[in-house]
Every structure is written in structure tokens, then in C-alpha cells.
Amino acid sequence: MSEANTTQTEDASQRTTDDAGGAIGGSAGRTTTGESEERIEDHWRNYEFAGEPKLSVEDLDVYYGEEQALQSVSMEIPEESVTALIGPSGCGKSTYLRCLNRMNDRIKSARVDGSVQLEGEELYQDGVDLVELRRRIGMVFQSPNPFPKSIRDNVSYGPRKHGDISTGLLPKLLGRDDTEQREELVERCLRQAALWEEVQDRLDDNALGLSGGQQQRLCIARCLAVDPDVILMDEPASALDPIATAKIEDLIEELAEEYTVVVVTHNMQQAARISDQTAVFLTGGELVEYGETDQVFEDPESQRVEDYISGKFG
């Protein structure tokens, strides 16, 4: 980019950064008004597509104690596609993702207002079976969190807990041992996650002994083993080298044929490569632009999104 261009936009970026400071510092009130004024100035585009949405989110507000992390986010996610979420650090991408499978319930200070629907069924209402919900909406976390168990047990954990696979002494006694299915499953999932080659000889080793990138892929494999409908991935390639990243990107595209995938990423080229539609969040927890990926990257409506994408701030 040219020198002149940078100076021109400096004012705008300066202002937004100040606002970011305000949001993190806790003066939510000020930020809210500031941002919403800006939204009116900005052009806001929402993505419209044919067919029923898999997930639809309406007016989602999330607060951590007094601090607001998401501001009335509405967005509909189509089935069997890849949706990328991008935005600067701390803008609420992970928070948004955690709302989709109600993992925010675990955080005591978190409060969620608004509506999230899975195939038309409201997730924030009484009587929702969280176990069933999370079985259908799988998640790969931002930082790898394998269990302190063997690699094999990590991958087969979900199916075992759901009673789809039973191995061990008791099933053997009962003559219902699923060791073979388990081995097949472990291999298939590890292959999909591009990890099989590296670990096939040490499936019994403790997963905490793997490298960070390997752990990341193990968590992906673990999630695939449950066979969910929707897969939420929070920066799945953040700790990976280019080769593994490429493999994961291939995997994501492959998965989109069958599953609904929502991916958070900081890598805009990656988002452009793999996703069908992209949502841009900006500091303060606001969804600024959501649309077809090509359009968002080539011709964003909002000036701030354009600035962000061209790397001028954020």
C-alpha cells in the first residue's frame, strides 16, 4: 500500500482503536452508542440465501458481567457450507461460537440474550437437552485441549460416552466387543485430520506428549468421531505449519459436503480460500458485514471492513 493511503486513513483507525480500548476497559455504554452511530453511517450488508438456514441467530447479546461482548448479532447460516468468521482479536468471535452450542453456560459471569435456532428449534429455552445439542454441534477449541489419555482413547472418547462403541473387559465378557469398529473409527478420523501418518505407531501414548499442532489436529479428529451435524472450529489451523494447514483446509472443504462448518480464522487468505460466506466482526462485538466470501473481500460495503481487510487496522 502507498504511503499516502496510510496517512489518509490514520484518523479513522485511531478513533476505532480508542473505542476498542473503551470496550475492553468496561465502559460498555459509551461504546454502544458510539458504535451504533457508526453503524448508521456505515453500510451494513446481511447475507441472503435460498433455502432453510441450519442455524439462525437473532439479536444475540452477550455480556460478561457488566461488559458487553456481542451486540445484537443476527445471522443465518446455510446448511452444508463453510462460514468463516473474521475480525480483530477480542471482538467476540469465540464468544459467538460458544453461543451456538451453549458452551457459554459454563462461564458463570456470561449472560446471553436473544435467540439461536437449530433447524428452527430454539436453543435458549427450558428443556433443551444440552448433551444432545452438543452432540449435534461439535466444537474444536481455540487452544488444543486433549484429554490426558492415550491418543486412541482421545479419538474414541465421544462414541464411547454415547454408547456407540463399547470396548474393554465387560463388553468382552458380554460378547459385544467393538474393538474393530473402534480401530476403524480411530484410523478414519485421524486420517481425515491429517494426523494418522504421524501417530499411527504410537496410538497408546499420552496425547499430552504431542506437539501443539498435533494436539490441534487430534482435537479435530476427536470432534469428527462424534459425527455431528455442525462443526464449530475456533482457529483450527493457528498452530499448524503450511503443509498441515493445507491439509486441514482440504478437510474443511471436504466436510462442507456433508456438514455445516463454522470456522474462526485470523488468516484472511485462508478465509477467502475455504469459505462460502464470511462474517466480519469488529471490536465491540458487532457483526459489521456478512456476505458471500468473494463479495466481502472484493467489494465490502463498509469502509471499516475494507480497512480491516486491507490490513490497515485491527
Binding site: G138, G158, K161, R222
Partner: protein
């Protein structure tokens, strides 16, 4: 040795001559005081006073180096207390070990204990049986309920309950054992005597129950610490795959904290084993091996700790006292191995959870 020489040279280069003088003089005075004290001379106060004076001088001239010397002295003293305890126990127990040989630990026919005769039998076998019985009963109370309590507090209880019960449990862990003993004597022993017709008013069963109840809060408290040290991200990982909270507790949290939880149990067992007062007050102090050996309601009642508490104040030296020290040695060795075992598993847990993630 070159390492030591290197260190000495390093020390001399870095330290001012005055400070070195203070260090050397202080060390000499301390050795003198320790030597005099060891030999039982009341004169040990003289070099000690000298040290006080020296410290005063050193504090004004070379404060940093004096402080360093003092802290070194403190560390050395701490370690030497431990060594002294072990050494003195062993020295005093030697006679009994020589007198009884293997029979000190393993003897099936009485008479087991014939104080104050220097020639008589002194066998710890009935006391070992007593310690084993009370410890096993106590562990059967404290381990399962302790772990359940810890799981309840860290994984199930709502925050409001937790903030009240956790400090409450820690308070309970502080109730003196003599208090448990008194309640046990007045209420529990009476209860078993009246309702179950125990042969004497005391029984291993009642004492074991009381000791178990007593070590329970310790187990809960330590195990709870271990369980809540398991990172939230691990639990989230499990929940996000659609397993229930209980499955997460069972398959992720408890296995991840396994070392810490078992260290808690070992600590509880150690406390139960070394527990003195509740047992002293609640047992009958008659020595013998019950028939069958696990008859926890028999008329016998003496453990390694109670025999010391009961008889050491009046023992008049000689073989009897030496046998009591032998009981102390056995006790010390058992509890020490438990403690080292617990530290080892805890260290492993640290490695496991700290590893890479």
C-alpha cells in the same frame, strides 16, 4: 571436588573480607554452641550470646551477607532437626531391636509385652495389628466418602454451597484429635458397649470410625484442591462433545486429578496411622492379637501410637523405653514412606498436567 573448590573461590571473590570474617566466626560460634548443647552442658548459652553480638555487629556492617548467613543457618537447623529426630529414634531403639530380633515385628504367641523387666518380651506385633485395623477402618470411612465429598464440592455443588462448605470443611480439619477422642469415649464407645455388647467398653471398630471421621475433612480438602486444579478447558472439551457432566467428571476430571486424589488419600491414611490421642483415649490398652485377627470388637486395644502415649511418660529407661522408641521408628518409617509416596504421585500429576498443553 573441583565444583566445591570453584564455589569456594567464587564465594571468596564475591564476598568482602569483613563479611567472610563474620561468616567464619559465626559458624565457629554456632558449632561451639551446638557441641556444648549436645554434651548437655549449660554453657552453650555463652557462644549463643556471642552469636547474638556478632549478628548485631554484622547487621550494621555487612547486612546482606549477615542475613544470608542467618538464612543459611535457619535452613541448616531445619534439616538437622529432621536428622536429629531420626538419629535419636534409631539410637534409642537399637537395644530393643537387638534384644528381640525379628520377634520384635513378628511374634504370634504371647506374652508380648512385659514391662519393666529388661529381660522380658517386647514385641510390636499386637500393636502393628492394632494400627493396621484402626487404619483400615479409618480408610474405609475416609477414602470413599472423602473422595465423594471432594467430587461433590468441586464438580456438583452450586457456587453458593461451595463457598460455605469449603471453608467449613477446612475448619473441621482443624478440630483437635483429643476432642474427637473425648466425644468418642463418652458417646461412641458407650454406644457400642450398650448396644452391641462389646467385651470391654473400648473397641478398634469404634476408634477406627472416629479416626476415619477425623481424617475425612483433610482428605476432602486436599482432594478437592486436586480436582479443581484440572483445567476448565479439559472439562469443556469433554462437554462440547456431548458427554454429560458426570461422564466428564468420571472420565476426564478424576483421571486427570488421579495422582492428587490418591495423594489426598495417602495423606489421610498417614494421619490415621499417626493419630494418637483419639486412639489413646478410646482403646483399652490391653495387648494381644484378636482371634480371628480381624475381630475389631475384641477386648484388645493398643496401637503403635497409643503405647507410646500411654507408657512413655512413666517408662523408667532400659528395655521398655527402647521398645517404645522402636514403636516410634516403625511408625515413622511407615508414615514417611506414605508421605514420600504421596509426594511422588503429586509430582507426577504436576508433570502430567503441566506437560505441553
Amino acid at each position: 571436588m573441583t565444583d566445591l573448590q570453584y564455589r569456594i573461590r567464587d564465594y571468596r571473590q564475591r564476598t568482602a573480607p569483613g563479611a567472610i570474617a563474620i561468616h567464619v566466626l559465626g559458624a565457629a560460634l554456632f558449632v561451639a554452641a551446638a557441641g556444648l548443647f549436645w554434651r548437655g552442658s549449660g554453657l552453650f548459652g555463652v557462644p549463643l550470646l556471642g552469636m547474638v553480638g556478632l549478628t548485631a555487629v554484622g547487621w550494621r556492617t555487612h547486612q546482606g551477607e549477615t542475613a544470608r548467613g542467618l538464612t543459611l543457618l535457619a535452613a541448616a537447623l531445619t534439616v538437622s532437626v529432621m536428622l536429629l529426630i531420626v538419629g535419636y529414634l534409631l539410637v534409642h531403639a537399637r537395644d530393643a531391636f537387638e534384644h528381640m530380633g525379628v520377634e520384635l515385628l513378628w511374634m504370634l504367641e504371647g506374652p508380648f509385652w512385659e514391662p519393666p523387666s529388661p529381660e522380658g518380651n517386647y514385641s510390636l506385633t499386637p500393636l502393628l495389628v492394632g494400627t493396621a485395623l484402626t487404619t483400615v477402618i479409618a480408610t474405609m470411612v475416609a477414602a470413599p466418602i472423602g473422595i465423594a465429598g471432594a467430587v461433590f464440592l468441586s464438580e456438583m455443588a452450586p457456587e453458593r454451597v461451595r463457598v460455605v462448605v469449603k471453608p467449613g470443611v477446612e475448619l473441621l480439619a482443624g478440630i483437635p484429635s483429643i476432642t474427637y477422642g473425648f466425644v468418642g469415649l463418652v458417646l461412641v464407645n458407650q454406644y457400642f458397649y450398650a448396644q452391641f455388647q462389646t467385651p470391654t467398653i473400648a473397641s478398634y471398630f469404634a476408634a477406627g470410625l472416629m479416626i476415619g471421621l477425623m481424617s475425612l475433612p483433610t482428605v476432602v480438602s486436599v482432594a478437592e484442591d486436586a480436582l479443581s486444579a484440572v483445567p476448565e478447558s479439559m472439562k469443556s472439551g469433554s462437554l462440547a462433545m456431548g458427554s454429560t457432566e458426570w461422564q466428564t467428571t468420571k472420565s476426564v476430571t478424576i483421571p486427570a486429578a488421579f495422582s492428587g486424589v490418591s495423594a489426598a488419600v495417602m495423606l489421610g491414611v498417614g494421619r490415621a496411622m499417626g493419630e494418637t490421642m483419639a486412639a489413646t483415649v478410646m482403646l483399652s490398652h490391653s495387648k494381644g492379637i484378636p482371634v480371628p485377627f480381624f475381630d475389631v470388637f475384641s477386648r484388645y486395644g493398643e496401637t503403635l501410637t497409643t503405647v507410646i502415649a500411654q507408657e512413655a511418660p512413666n517408662a523408667t529407661g532400659g528395655m521398655h523405653e527402647s521398645a517404645l522408641f522402636a514403636a516410634g521408628v516403625v511408625l515413622f518409617v511407615s508414615v514417611m514412606s506414605l508421605s514420600i509416596g504421596a509426594q511422588y504421585v503429586e509430582w507426577r500429576m504436576y508433570r502430567k498436567l503441566g506437560g505441553e498443553s
